[in-house]
Every structure is written in structure tokens, then in C-alpha cells.
């Protein structure tokens, strides 16, 4: 029994040796991912940084980005979690087709997504016209439009993550809840949701990160109006045309915000293996 827990030396050495065929590409991949970020840091105008950071235009764009990404995530949670539940738990005809449709925004170029949104939710769009006339709701080229564009692009991330979590969850807990007299809604609220909470959180983080970086659909559907629809990625792109250093500063901020929030949430919600 005393041998348990001690690995024989020869066995340990064999486990420790990793093949170069795998290590080399792995190191290259890491460098490829990290070097551009390092480039941002190297070229950053550190001397003028404090002054540039307090530029009202930068702060406005940052605030708009954080607000719209958060609102888009909330919208995705409200609509996406029920959709994921439907896909995971209810047998209905055409379920596979629906699942395929949900993932379309993942592969669709965001610009195309933005154009499609314009055709439906634009002032003259199929739904947009009616919404505009009936409720006075205008989406195209407004902050609401930014949220809509971001939600459109980010929703699949949430739905896929939550559906995966729901499929992985043991449905027998839901049966146990039913035998205790809980209806489907109570069961969903008090048993299913808490069981898949980590999956939902992970999906929300992915969704938020995707929304924060959204560019193509936003600029196509909502335009590029400072203070209303100009989010950080748009500001980076626009600034790049006249002021490289300014674009670098904006990029750094975006990078910092993403890293800080992802790191904070990772410890709290996403369990790294």
C-alpha cells in the first residue's frame, strides 16, 4: 500500500517528455496570439497617455461600449436562455433546422448581418416601418440599434453555451422536482437554472465579450455617430485614419477592459480545468 502515490521514476520521465512536433507549433501559436498585443504595448504613447485617456470623446465611446454590450447581453439572456431551453428540452418538428439557424450569425460576416438588420429593422424595413409608426421605435442609426446589432451577433454564443450546459445537466433532478409537486416553471426557476448557472455565466461572458468587440454589424446598421452609436471598435477604426497613436490608446483601453473583466469572471464563474 505504501507504493500508492509514488510514481516510479522511469514512468515519470516518459510522461514528462513531450514531442517537439507538438511543442513547436504550440509555441508558435502562443507567440502569434501574444505578439500583436505586445506590439500594442511597445508602440503605445506612454508620455501622452494620461492626457489622452481623459479625452471626453474616448470616455464617451468607452461608456457607450460598456453600456451597449451589457444591454445586449441582458437582451441575449432574456431571449437566449429560453431558446436554449427549448432546443435542449422540448422535442418539436424542425428542431435541427432551428438549431442550425441559431448558429447562422456565427458564420455570417457581420457586415451582412448589419445589412440584413437594416432591411428588417430599418425605418423602411419589414418590421421597422411598423414599429416606427405604431410605437415610435426607431432602431437604425440609434443607440438601440447598436444594442440590437450586438445582440444579433452575440446571441449564438450564449445559446450554444447554455444549450450545452442544459444537455449536460442531469434531467433526473427535474423529475425529482416534479414528484415533489413542482410545475415546469417552478422546476426551471428553482432547479434547472441554478444547476446550469455556471454554463449560463460562461455563455454570458462570451456573449458580452463578442458584443464589446462588435464592429461590422454595428457600423452598417447603426452608423458611426459619436456619443450615440460610436462604440470603441468604431472609434479605433475612425481614429486610425488620422491618428495612429490615438487608435493605439483606444485599443489598449479595450484590451485592458476585456482582460480585467474576463479575469475577474473566470475566477468567479468559469472553472478552468
Amino acid at each position: 500500500m505504501s507504493r500508492i502515490g509514488t510514481t516510479p521514476p522511469r514512468f515519470r520521465r516518459r510522461v514528462g517528455r513531450t514531442p517537439a512536433v507538438l511543442v513547436l507549433p504550440a509555441v508558435l501559436a502562443l507567440a502569434f496570439l501574444v505578439l500583436p498585443l505586445a506590439g500594442l504595448l511597445v508602440r503605445a504613447p506612454w508620455a501622452t497617455l494620461p492626457q489622452r485617456l481623459t479625452d471626453p470623446q474616448v470616455l464617451t465611446a468607452l461608456r457607450l461600449s460598456l453600456e451597449t454590450a451589457t444591454l445586449a447581453t441582458v437582451l441575449c439572456l432574456l431571449l437566449g436562455v429560453p431558446l436554449a431551453w427549448l432546443l435542449a428540452r422540448v422535442e418539436f418538428p424542425g428542431r435541427r433546422l432551428v438549431r442550425a439557424l441559431v448558429t447562422v450569425p456565427l458564420v455570417l460576416p457581420p457586415v451582412v448581418g448589419g445589412l440584413a438588420l437594416l432591411l428588417v429593422f430599418g425605418r423602411r424595413g419589414l418590421l421597422g416601418q411598423w414599429l416606427d409608426q405604431t410605437f415610435g421605435l426607431t432602431f437604425a442609426f440609434t443607440t438601440k440599434g447598436v444594442v440590437l446589432a450586438e445582440a444579433f451577433v452575440a446571441m449564438p454564443f450564449l445559446v450554444i453555451a447554455v444549450e450545452g450546459a442544459l444537455r449536460g445537466a442531469d434531467t433526473r433532478y427535474e423529475e425529482a422536482a416534479a414528484t415533489l409537486g413542482a410545475g415546469r416553471w417552478t422546476t426551471f426557476r428553482r432547479v434547472t437554472l441554478p444547476l446550469v448557472a455556471p454554463g449560463i455565466a460562461a455563455g454570458a461572458v462570451l456573449c458580452w465579450a463578442r458584443a464589446l468587440g462588435e464592429f461590422g454589424a454595428t457600423i452598417t446598421f447603426a452608423g458611426n455617430f459619436p456619443g450615440r452609436t460610436q462604440t470603441m471598435p468604431l472609434a479605433v477604426y475612425l481614429t486610425l485614419e488620422q491618428d495612429l497613436e490615438g487608435a493605439i490608446v483606444l485599443s489598449l483601453i479595450l484590451l485592458l477592459v476585456s482582460v480585467v473583466i474576463l479575469a475577474a469572471l473566470r475566477d468567479r464563474w468559469i472553472s478552468a480545468p
Partner: protein, 360 residues
Amino acid sequence: MTGSLVDARIVVDRGTFRLDIDLRIDAGEVVALLGPNGAGKTTALRALAGLVPLTDGHITLRDRRLDDARARRWVPAEHRPIGVVFQDYLLFPHLSALENVAFGPRSHGTGRREARTVAAAWLDRVGLADHVRRKPRQLSGGQAQRVALARALAVEPELLLLDEPLAALDARTRLDTRAELHRHLAAHPGATLLVTHDPLDALVLADRLVILEGGRVVQEGDAAEITAQPRTDYVARLVGLNLYRGRATGGSVEVAGGLTLMTTDAVDGDAFVAFSPIAVAVHVDRPTGSPRNTWPATITAVQRHGDNLRLQLDGPIAAAADITPAAAAQLELTPGRHVWAAVKATETRAYPADLPAEPQ
């Protein structure tokens, strides 16, 4: 109307498998559904709980139709006055012991504070008053089992279902938990159905045993009836008897292999003969004298069985024989050895194989 609290005919088709059983349970009665793996025990339990729809048949609980396949009536699980203790308990991992037990009362519309009071009282009854705040992962197997029982009983079910309630426990915990479970089941005023593959659980906990094989009831009765007169090989093994089926004429029964066994019970027609492994004597030479049944046999296996050794014998009939280790050493009883087996006629029991018509 029948006098039973539960009156059910459960038919469930599962591809090639078909479960088809009649089940009646009185108020206060504990019935064990006993059978080998895959016999359909858990399917029957799930059908009663409303988790599996019936293909045919009906389920009536206190004169209320919960299922009626022909009338397309099906009451969903959450509207059945039934409590379930699942095999691995399925305590909600994110809720404390108290909240787990309070879940049922709350789902039935009791206020939060009152549901907690009810739950605390139940946890106290199962001896876990000190563990109300624990999460399921902080409970031992035996404690989790008691929380699961409290959770099922807290909704005051008319029918309590237990699916292998002791299977997940180690041997020592099982002994204590079984005794305690017996106490709680005896106190339960409603009907109880216990699903198990462990004959000891069934014999200790149940008033009546229903034995299921291949989706059908093969035998039914109290512990004494079943242990005295097993009707299938599975039941015979459960109660530890050698069992044969044959044609009886008076005191002799012709069984497989052309062998005729003498008994002191007079039966005619299709009959069972049963005898205990302890009644089988093993000799190196053919025994003579005394009214014995003897046949030549080959030893195929020798195992330890309590204080004795159990020999598996092959020959015209397969049989188990229990002998003392001393006798085994003296006779050099090793696998492959040819011996003679002998059973006294007074040690065998014969009874008709055809079930008597059920009294209506």
C-alpha cells in the same frame, strides 16, 4: 371499488421489452417489488410516479384515476399525491438539507416560513436536526438517504415509492439505515412500494413481496410463503434452495435427466420439488440403506459459504450442497471429482406448479 389504496395494471412497451403487471397495495402496507436487473422494477415505479406513460392499463389511487391508457387520461407527476426516494437520492445540490425538504411543501403552495418549519420537523424525525444547513455534498451516504426520505415524506404522499433505497450505501451504514427505514415505513399511513434487487431489504422492510422477472409477476406472497415455496430459479436462488420442476405421481416426482425424487408430500401432476443445500449429503461411494434420493454427480465448483463450503454439483440435475470444511477435506472434494449426492425424502418439499386460482 376495490378495497386497496393502490390498484394498478401497469403495461409499458419499451421496444422489445414489455412490462405487464397487476399491483394492489393497501393503506399502511409495504410491498416490495423484487427482481433481477432489467426485470422492469424501476419502469413500474416510474410509471406509478407519472414519469413514464402507460401503454395500456390504469393506475388508481384512493379511487382517483391517475392513469387510464384507454381513456387517454394521464395526471402529470406534479399533480400526483406520490413521493419518491430515488436510487441515488437526487438531492438538489445547490440547496441545503432544509431547503431540499422544504421544496415539496413550497411547491404545494405552503409559505416559505411554514415550509421551513415543516422541513425542520421532518429532518428532526429522521435524526438530522443538526444538519439542516448542510449542502448534500457535505452529507454522508446514510444522511443523504435520510434527507431524501424526509423530502419524499414531507409532501405527505398517499403512495411512497422507494427505488433501491439502500443500494448506494456501504454494508455497515446499510444495516443501521435499514432498521431506521423500517421504523419510518411502519409509521407511514399511506401505501409504500419498495423496489429492490436485495432479498434481505425486501424480507426485512416489506409486508408482502411481488417478484418480477422479464416484466411479469412470477410470484407474490409474504416472506414465509415465498421462502417455503419458490416458483422460479431466481426466487429459489434468492431464498437459497435447490428447485426442480417435474411430473408428480403420489410421493415421487420425475424431474430432468430421468431422475425421480421421492418426497413425503403427496402431489399429482406438474409440481415443484425444493430442498436446502444443507440437506444434500455428499459421498464418495454410492450410499445404501435409508430412504434416500441418490444420484451420481460431478463437483464443478467449491466456494466458501458462511462457515461451510458450498459445492456446485453437475449430473442429471444441477444442485448446490453445503458441507463442513472438515468433511470436504476428509473426502478430498475438489472440482472434477465424481461423487454421489443424497437427499432424504423427508428433507424435500413438493408442491403443485400450477398456481391455485386466485380467490376473487
